[in-house]
Symmetry: C2
Subunit: 305 residues, 2 copies
């Protein structure tokens, strides 16, 4: 990479649009993906499948919506209320419907005609997994392979900060030693994969954007216990590189919440690791240019063997 | 198929769960998909790609959320307000957050602490496409290939009636003759594909569940003008077979709304066709049994060549 590469969120968004890689949206954080963007993302996803091939993963898939009670139960509204999305729906009749259409016509708010539903947007691909692990794990524990759309309410001009995006995620549930060993193995494999793809990636300890005054304590605890790591790459800023891969050690949080036990009866521990699929794809375009045909041969050979 | 096959939504759901094909949810219409379910769905999706290979499709992909103004603009709140989902989010500070957590803790409603956002759930995979077709089409028009998650707020015990599910969809924008010819070609190919897969499928004219008193007129118009067709297969009922594939002719609705013009300057017409991916998959399990290894050889050969 040349030392003169410029980093700027707005310019990068415009370049992605100009090359047909993303299709511009009409509200911040929501946009389409073009054919070439999806080719790269799909090739990367296949590569991840190969890297994970011998992990004994079970595949599960969940929709982009969950039971609202789930995000209440896992503590999401405590830690990240500002990022959550809950679904409201219309339960009225003809009269309320006419009122709604008039309000829409006149550009007036129509939220008063909606009611909170039982549904929330999925904030993390792994949340719906844990209730499927309740009970006693086999001796080797369980490992789950997931792909899904997540919702984060943080409208932004940064193309890397989307309201709705895909994660390829793996979850491990087992005894503490096994879980930490698995997390460490993925920390190594995840970083190596990015380096093999020619990305200037490094790994580092990280923290989550916990909400409010109480959140400060959670951040301090997370940092001290080294519960979160990220692999980061400069995409829209050199000083603040973008997390393209994250590793979270939950200790016994989900094991306790969903009564998951190891074969010898202890509360199981869990960890997850996830690739931000759009972010990895954008990091490849930023690093190697907007035309994959002109990417370095070793990178092309890895993505399209 | 034996004449003694039993049809019952609850039994079919329980059988899908018992065979690990779906992972039970905790609220109606939301559940996970297991590995074998996804293998079948993915194989069918690949088969659709083959059938569509020579159509000159452009690929686009959109997230499961859209700008709320889009569903207002296309008239979704007029026709299907009861099926829509809009996203609300928390914009408060520490005080409101404490209030929210207390309400959640006490099992009280907390909707008063949320505000309507700019985001809605995607109700049809094709809606975000049309603004990308604004302007003058090339002489042959344009054809778009899409896959995505859609939201329909109709909680139900029927496994075939999901709140969140995937559609593989194609959109055609061109002059009226070209659009109708394309629709007819897909009507034939879609039905033939289902018959080749051993499904007892038939095609028929259909109508949408338009809302309220005004909706009755829209249904009558749609039926009279034959704007909607479906391919249906018995899955949870013999008398009311399930639509697994639908074909919608929009005439100039989207052409006018998004200023899409043909090469000779007329308002373009559009049509779309979509496979309900989970429904096709469930129809295969209902028809051929819960173990794909024991499906008829011609069906297996088609799905796993």
């Amino acid at each position: 990479m040349s030392a003169t590469v410029a980093y700027d969120p707005k310019t990068f968004y415009d370049e992605l649009v100009a090359h047909g890689l993303i299709l511009p949206g009409t509200t911040l954080g929501i946009f389409g993906r073009g054919a070439v963007f999806e080719e790269v993302l799909t090739a990367f996803n296949t590569l991840v499948t190969q890297v994970a091939a011998h992990d004994g993963n079970e595949k599960m898939l969940f929709p982009p919506c969950v039971d609202r009670k789930l995000i209440e139960k896992v503590g999401y509204m405590k830690s990240f209320p500002h990022l959550a999305g809950t679904v409201f729906s219309f339960c009225g009749h003809d009269k309320e419907h006419r009122d709604m259409l008039e309000r829409i016509q006149d550009g007036k708010p129509w939220d008063n005609l909606l009611q909170m539903s039982d549904i929330a947007l999925t904030p993390a691909v792994c949340y719906p997994v844990y209730m499927n692990l309740t009970g006693t794990l086999p001796p080797q524990g369980r490992t789950v392979d997931l792909t899904g759309w997540v919702y984060r309410h943080e409208p932004s001009i940064e193309p890397t900060r989307m309201i709705s995006f895909r994660m390829r995620e793996f979850v491990r549930a087992a005894d503490p030693d096994t879980v930490i060993e698995w997390r460490n193995s993925w920390l190594e494999r995840g970083l190596q994969l990015m380096i093999d793809l020619g990305l200037p990636a490094v790994s580092e300890t990280a923290t989550d954007p916990f909400f409010g005054r109480g959140g400060k304590m959670l951040v301090a605890n997370q940092r001290e216990a080294k519960l979160k790591f990220e692999v980061v790459v400069p995409v829209i800023s050199k000083e603040n590189p973008t997390a393209i891969c994250s590793f979270n050690y939950h200790q016994d949080h989900f094991g306790k919440t969903f009564d998951i036990r190891t074969a010898d009866g202890e509360v199981a521990q869990t960890a997850c690791m996830a690739f931000g699929m759009e972010r990895v794809t954008m990091a490849l375009f930023k690093t190697h240019g907007f035309d994959p045909k002109r990417w370095p041969k070793p990178v092309r050979d890895l993505l399209w063997p």
